[in-house]
């Protein structure tokens, strides 16, 4: 492990507050809990498992962390059946075949060693994060890890634990700058205890109306602050309804952007009715809001 003096991140983010400020500079308002979680992920360093409802900014948090640390973001989107050739590396077979033919045509002798060299290697996200040349470690975002299957989770776990990977033809690749790892999960299944045990954990809550308004203004700078306040309040009102999918901060931003592009300067009942589709994504939910009256949605 690096000691504090040689840690390239120590100067950039000496404490939690410094990281919070840098995140804000990159248009991401993190509360103290999330700042602390990201700080520990980067500085301990330890993989961080982020959970929370859809649309609270799990993925964006990792992107903002990369921006704040002025380093590369490597994203691995998980899906069912993902395996090492899609996540780690693959050989460039077409090029290898060409290489063989070329050598034949030139009458050269060809060895195994000539075909399995780094130039024939196709890096996938995990390998690319491990081989990141620095000067600061890359941020590796493993998105929706619950979608991958058990086998992949075990494989990932081992890779994270070792910060190295063995490619039979090339030998062991050890990361010079082990990546800062952020995993997100939607809780569609239980993750393995072994993986959870290794990770820091943070549950992201919906922000309150005031913070939501700040976040909206940061993302839609053109919007008036009064409009942002109104939308933030309306969204928190909608969340009290018994809706199937409670709107998150992403929906609030989308709503303001829609109002903005349509030229509404204030959120009134008529504007809300016209644009409700950008915040409630189920027909039943929209009907529920209509039944409660749009007047209530905008004014309470």
């Amino acid at each position: 492990m690096n000691d504090a003096v040689s840690d390239p991140l120590a100067e950039l983010v000496p404490d939690v507050a410094a990281l919070g400020r840098r995140l804000a500079d990159h248009a991401y308002l993190a509360d103290q809990g999330l700042s602390t979680a990201l700080f520990c992920a980067a500085r301990l360093p330890q993989p961080l498992l982020l959970e929370g409802e859809a649309g609270v900014g799990k993925t964006t948090a990792a992107q903002a962390l990369a921006a704040a640390l002025d380093t590369r973001l490597v994203r691995l989107q998980c899906y069912e059946g993902i395996d090492s050739t899609e996540a780690l590396y693959e050989w460039n077979y077409a090029r290898q075949l060409l290489g063989i033919r070329l050598a034949e045509a030139r009458g050269e002798a060809l060895d195994d060693v000539d075909l399995f060299t780094p130039e024939f290697l196709v890096e996938r996200p995990l390998l690319s994060a491990l081989r990141h040349p620095g000067p600061r470690p890359a941020v590796l975002l493993v998105d929706e890890v619950d979608r991958a299957d058990d086998e992949f989770e075990a494989f990932l776990f081992e890779l994270l634990a070792e910060s190295s990977v063995t490619i039979p033809e090339l030998g062991t690749q050890r990361a010079e700058f082990p990546p800062i790892v952020v995993l997100t999960s939607n809780r569609t299944r239980d993750l393995h205890d072994a993986l959870k045990r290794r990770c820091l954990y943070h549950w992201i809550d919906y922000p309150g109306p005031i913070r939501a308004s700040e976040i909206i203004r940061m993302h839609v700078p053109a919007a008036r602050s009064s409009l942002a306040d109104q939308v933030a309040a309306a969204v928190s009102r909608l969340r009290t309804l018994d809706v199937q999918k409670a709107p998150g901060i992403a929906e609030a931003i989308g709503w303001v952007a829609a109002l903005e592009v349509l030229g509404f300067e204030v959120l009134d009942a008529e504007a809300a009715e016209l644009t409700i589709g950008s915040v409630l994504k189920y027909r039943d939910d929209a009907e529920l809001a209509a039944a409660r009256s749009f007047e209530w949605v905008v004014t309470g």
């Binding site: 504090a4 404490d15 939690v16 103290q32 809990g33 700042s35 602390t36 979680a37 700080f39 520990c40 500085r43 301990l44 330890q46 961080l48 959970e51 899906y79 069912e80 059946g81 993902i82 395996d83 050739t85 693959e90 050989w91 077979y93 290898q96 075949l97 063989i100 050598a103 034949e104 060809l110 195994d112 075909l115 619950d146 979608r147 939607n186 809780r187 569609t188 299944r189 239980d190 959870k196 045990r197 290794r198 990770c199 820091l200 954990y201 943070h202 549950w203 199937q244 999918k245 039943d284």
Partner: protein, 412 residues
């Protein structure tokens, strides 16, 4: 470090804090405790809020642990710091009773209690509801059936405890199998439809770089997930027990998920994987406090859809619902939620033990509302009928056995 240190002796405080968390039911591994110590060292918290977040991020491992964590944090750090300002207006959760008891217990005893590291929360386990077999009312049918064949046809609801135990042994040999679906993974196969380039190139090295034989592979198949939603209110309990036994063995192989409901929905998948079905059921029932309210199937289904089904748990799965369809809530809500569920699930098999009676008609409000969305409607009230349920689940075809065969067209 120049900053004023909030905590005098890090190692000591971390150890004691971890100990209290242990007693409260959060398993703090030495690894996590060590991580907290490193974090405290690294970030040198000077306010309680800072300390709270550092501890929570490093020690808590799941959302469910957060309330307990908060309570213990308050308990431990209230002594020399004021925590009130750290988390805004959140209500302070009560300490679990076990922790209050822990106050009077010696540290050594507490440590011994938690020596195995995986102690479950004492508040839900060890309840006096566990010994279910002893306090069951005597069976309405007099003499226990001795004949094997008779036992196979015996209604679960009218079995004596001894008979149930014997049935359980019968059932342990039964295996639930779901239909297959294409997986995204590919395996090598002699007549596969795509080429495994990696293996082909490797083989080409034997023939001087000429890919003379192509290695093929094809998509593998995977069994569909099975999800059980079992009604445990009143007379349905005996039947639901049988189905939990059935799914006990399938937790791993089929990624089976089990839920029980009466007035509220409880997920028992994890308890079922760790404990035997009897204890899992008792634990779930201990968590349900309201028994007089009747069965709210619609509400339970809505909670299932919102919290689990929509996120992917029910997608493409075979859903088995065990219930008599007596809805004490709103039947139109039940219809709506069944509609949602039917759009997520591959098939819905409704097991209604009452339906084997010759005079049964699904006219009960709830049952009538749910039926249009059910792919197979079966009785499943005895071991013999259970075999039929397994056939229906495995084959993916509609059922001929039931009194009513409600089936929508156009689903596969």
């Amino acid at each position: 470090m120049g900053r004023h240190r909030l905590i005098p002796d890090v190692a000591d405080v971390v150890a004691r804090f971890a100990d209290r968390l242990h007693v409260a039911g959060i398993a703090v591994t030495p690894e996590r405790a060590g991580r907290l110590a490193s974090a405290l060292d690294l970030a040198a918290p000077s306010t309680t809020a800072e300390l709270y977040w550092l501890a929570r991020v490093t020690v808590a491992g799941d959302r469910h642990e957060l309330a307990t964590f908060d309570a213990v944090f308050d308990e431990v750090f209230r002594g020399f710091v004021d925590v009130a300002d750290s988390r805004g207006a959140t209500e302070q959760p009560r300490l679990p009773p076990a922790l209050e008891r822990g106050d009077r217990r010696t540290d050594a005893a507490a440590a011994a209690l938690n020596a195995d590291g995986g102690t479950p929360r004492p508040s839900t386990l060890g309840s006096d509801r566990v010994g279910g077999d002893d306090d069951q009312p005597p069976s309405p049918v007099g003499a226990p059936a001795s004949d094997h064949a008779v036992l196979r046809q015996r209604d679960f609801g009218s079995c004596t405890p001894e008979e149930l135990a014997r049935l359980r042994r019968l059932m342990s040999r039964m295996r639930i199998v779901t239909p297959q679906r294409p997986s995204r993974r590919r395996r090598r196969h002699a007549r596969g439809d795509s080429i495994d380039l990696r293996a082909s190139i490797r083989r080409a090295r034997r023939t001087g770089g000429d890919p003379a034989t192509l290695v093929r592979r094809r998509i593998t198949e995977r069994r569909r997930r099975v999800v059980l939603l079992a009604d445990v209110s009143g007379s349905m309990e005996a039947y639901s027990r049988a189905y939990l036994y059935l799914l006990h063995g399938a937790v791993r192989a089929l990624r089976a998920e089990s839920f029980v409901f009466s007035t509220q929905l409880t997920r028992v998948t994890r308890t079922l994987a760790l404990l035997d079905p009897e204890r899992a059921l008792s634990t779930a029932m201990a968590a349900t406090d309201d028994w007089s309210g009747g069965t709210r199937i619609g509400d339970a289904l809505r909670e299932f859809n919102d919290r689990w089904g929509r996120r992917g748990l029910a997608r493409g799965a075979v859903v088995i619902i065990v219930s008599d369809g007596w809805e004490s809530g709103n039947t139109s809500e039940l219809g709506r939620q069944m509609d949602r569920l039917s759009r997520l699930a591959h098939r819905i098999v409704w097991v209604n033990p009452r339906s084997h009676r010759p005079d049964y008609e699904p006219l009960v409000g709830g049952m009538a509302a749910a039926l249009p969305y059910v792919d197979a409607f079966v009785s499943g009230h005895s071991v013999e009928a259970l075999e039929h349920v397994l056939d229906v689940v495995a084959s993916g075809v509609s059922s001929t056995h039931p009194v009513v065969s409600a089936r929508r067209s156009g689903r596969g």
